[in-house]
């Protein structure tokens, strides 16, 4: 035994412990803050961080998560937190947390400092996610309807000025489609002009004509000729296949073109709709009115909630299948004798949350199985939070983010009930500018996303309401009609449906007061709207001109030419097949004749009947 060696080891071990004791807290804290800030898009700060390697605990006094949209406030913050992590997984660079307790959870709190965080270039995700696109579509739907004016319709619209601002898009799109079609037709012209099929048909024909059946006197020569013709049969069969392939390509190409031409009406309609929006001309129907009355408030909140889904999906998707087996030449291969160590990189098995919302609802609940790879934990993320306050306002939030299957699935249910509406306006629209004297509200939302199929419903109920119309009756006829219509209503139910189950994203908003508004508006401004509408429509159509008709005529003419060219080719191939088959039959017949005559000669000579 080397005593000095033992002392040396003891000193090294003690030094190692001392250094890690002193330096581990700030290193781990800054790494967590950095990674979490990248994930959040704004600063995440931890105060009073402490890691206890003996008891395997992490604790902190305060966590602040800045709001990326407003960096002077926090999306949420927590007070004291304590978590226990498992020892052995850390050897495999895995963090498995059994339980976290978050106390004093608060939403929307103010910050003392700016929470801006510069995300490093290589961490930025350039491609917008599917959910982000949905948020964009919903937001544009909100802004479209926010501009609608129902009461102040301008009948003397300056169409020239409107058109100069509008910049019609359909003419350019139609021209571009025509150029694309033209290039396609040229390609087909050149395909038919350069195809070798015609030359090969001519060669086959020459070979067929050179076989003179009458001159064949010997069965051996007949067999040889049959063999040659059989080769020609194979050649014409191949020609037929090539002609068929040409036909398939041709049909595929023009199938696409047909689809593109079908879109012309949509382009024209989109230009017209933009002109209508620019002129702030509404379409007076229940859907449009409900969207203008309630859509802005309802969908703006909704977009906010979807941001959280986008973040969950981004990180859920990014880390799926993180550990792929790899065999590298000198690193060898790891064998698995059980699935004991098949842990995800991060797995927080349970979070107990308690705190209060900005509106002082005491919130408590659980979030379970947050992990970097659900296929390893075999558990989806589930959350179940809820609470009430003294004045009976309640909130519940439940849901599941499931990435176990091939398609990511998210389901979220949210309700907020019992909040007071006294003194508030139920709609930001000019149609309903009256505050409420009494009433309570309830919001509920259900969102279900399966891969890129999106289905959601947001409900809003204003119960026990009474509008404050002021003392004097309105001099405006529309306003008076609306007052009369809604004064007898003590409940407003609004439902917004956002889905893309049948194609592009659709946003539908409906309420129980839509018809009241439609009737009031139809009897007053409907005629003015129609007149202005016709004026704009006829101008848009005249600007686009007969481009559509010309394009269709051009398309039909060229397609007919190409089809004719193809049919000519197809007929030539078929004719050639027929000729080759006829020649073959002729040769078979000749061969039989020659064989029979040969047999008869032999029979005659030796006197034996075969």
């Amino acid at each position: 035994m080397r005593i000095k060696g033992l002392i040396f080891l003891a000193i090294i071990t003690a030094l190692g412990f001392l250094i890690s004791w002193i330096s581990i807290d700030p290193i781990v804290e800054s790494e967590i803050e950095y990674q979490a800030s990248i994930a959040n898009g704004a600063l995440v700060e931890i105060d009073g961080f402490d890691i206890d390697l003996i008891d395997l605990k992490i604790r902190w006094d305060r966590l602040q998560v800045a709001n990326p949209e407003n960096t002077m406030s926090n999306s949420f913050e927590t007070g004291e937190m304590e978590l226990d992590f498992l020892f052995w997984p850390t050897w495999w660079e895995r963090v498995i947390v059994e339980d976290i307790i978050f106390k004093d959870f608060k939403m929307d709190t103010e910050r003392e400092t700016d929470g801006y965080f510069e995300i490093p270039e290589d961490e930025k995700n350039a491609e917008p996610s599917f959910v982000a696109q949905v948020i964009g579509d919903v937001t544009s739907e909100i802004s479209r309807n926010a501009n609608m004016e129902f009461t102040n319709i301008k009948t003397n619209i300056n169409v020239d000025s409107l058109m100069s601002k509008l910049n019609l898009q359909a003419p350019d799109k139609i021209d571009s489609l025509r150029n694309g079609l033209s290039r396609n037709y040229q390609k087909w012209d050149s395909t038919f002009a350069n195809t070798k099929i015609n030359k090969e048909i001519a060669d086959i024909e020459k070979t067929i004509n050179a076989i003179d059946v009458k001159k064949i006197k010997d069965p051996k020569k007949a067999i040889e000729a049959i063999k040659n013709v059989q080769k020609l049969v194979k050649q014409v069969d191949s020609l037929k296949t090539r002609a068929q392939n040409l036909k398939n390509d041709f049909q595929e190409d023009f199938g696409d073109s047909k689809f593109s031409v079908g879109r012309i009406d949509n382009w024209i309609q989109a230009d017209f709709q933009r002109a209508m929006n620019m002129a702030k001309l509404p379409t007076i129907d229940p859907g449009n009115i409900a969207q203008s009355l309630f859509g802005e408030n309802l969908l703006a909140d909704y977009s906010g909630y979807l941001e959280y889904v986008a973040i969950a999906r981004k990180y859920g998707g990014r880390l799926v299948g993180e550990d792929k087996d790899k065999i590298e030449r000198y690193e060898g291969k790891d064998y698995k004798f059980s699935d004991k160590y098949d842990w995800p990189k991060l797995w927080i098995q349970n979070i107990d949350l308690s705190g209060e919302t900005k509106t002082a609802i005491q919130l408590a609940g659980q979030i379970t199985n947050i992990s970097s790879d659900q296929k390893k934990t075999k558990e989806p993320i589930r959350f179940d939070l809820g609470g009430k306050d003294d004045s009976n306002r309640s909130m519940t939030l439940t849901g599941e983010f499931n990435y176990l299957g091939n398609e990511p699935r998210e389901t979220i249910n949210f309700t907020y009930d019992g909040f007071g509406l006294k003194g508030t306006k139920i709609s930001p629209s000019e149609l309903l500018p009256y505050p409420l004297k009494t009433g309570t509200g309830e919001v509920s939302a259900t969102v279900s996303i399966i891969d890129k199929r999106f289905d959601s419903e947001i409900g809003y109920k204003a119960k026990g309401i009474a509008f404050d119309f002021g003392q004097n009756p309105s001099k405006d006829r529309i306003q008076q009609l609306i007052r009369d219509a809604v004064s007898s209503t003590d409940q407003i139910n609004v439902t917004a449906l956002v889905d893309n189950l049948d194609g592009p994203l659709k946003v539908k908003v409906r309420s129980n007061v839509d018809d009241l508004f439609v009737n009031a508006l139809k009897s007053t401004v409907s005629k003015e709207v129609d007149r202005a509408r016709q004026k704009i429509e006829s101008r848009v159509r005249s600007e686009i001109g007969n481009r559509k008709e010309q394009l269709l005529a051009f398309k039909n003419e060229k397609e007919a030419e190409i089809r004719k060219e193809y049919e000519r080719l197809e007929n030539r191939v078929n004719e050639e097949i027929k000729k080759v088959e006829e020649k073959k039959e002729e040769l078979e017949k000749k061969k039989k004749e020659l064989e029979d005559s040969l047999k008869n000669n032999i029979k005659d000579r030796i006197g034996i009947d075969w």
Binding site: M1, R2, W91, Y330, E331, G332, K333, D334, K336, S338
Partner: protein, 174 residues
């Protein structure tokens, strides 16, 4: 640099007559195990502790580590194949599974083909290498040491200031 020269000088001195052949052969086989197996393995930490606390020759361990690291670089594909054979051996499956399910064994990464292949190869090699090294040391002392000490490298090493400092320190230490 000083550390390397120190151990080269120490090794030359040990080879001449200071250390017993057992200490030299012990250092050699322990250095060989570290050299042949992936360096950052838990078992190498244990070997390193053994080198430090046992009275084996550290210079010889370093020499063996350097030689066998080079050999291992070429032999890793063979260790990989040997590891596959061992880990897929039907008769050993129960042993591997129970070892795998024990965290203490699992952190040695024995379930990796190169780790187990090279480690078992190194252990097997220890059996002939220990006596061979002892014989080699005796033969070196008898026939080669004189010649080595006359080489330019040995003379140059002896001529350096570092070596004289080392000699002085060694004398003082006893």
């Amino acid at each position: 640099m000083f550390l390397i020269l120190k151990y080269v000088a120490k090794l030359l001195k040990a080879l001449s007559s200071e250390a017993s052949p057992n200490q030299l052969a012990g250092g050699f086989i322990l250095g060989m195990i570290i050299g042949l197996t992936p360096v950052l393995s838990v078992h190498n930490l244990i070997i390193l502790i053994l080198i430090i606390i046992l009275k084996v020759n550290i210079g010889m361990a370093i020499l063996a580590f350097l030689i066998f690291s080079g050999i291992a670089y070429l032999a890793d594909p063979l260790f990989h194949s040997f590891g596959i054979w061992i880990l897929e051996n039907d008769g050993l499956q129960d042993t591997w599974t129970s070892m795998y399910n024990n965290e203490l064994w699992a952190i040695t990464r024995f379930y990796n083909t190169v780790v187990i292949g090279s480690f078992i190869s190194a252990l097997v090699l220890c059996v002939p290498m220990f006596p061979l090294t002892k014989v080699g040391v005796v033969q070196y002392r008898k026939h080669i040491h004189e010649k080595v000490m006359k080489t330019k490298f040995a003379k140059a090493l002896k001529g350096t200031k570092l070596y004289s400092v080392y000699q002085t320190v060694a004398r003082v230490r006893g």
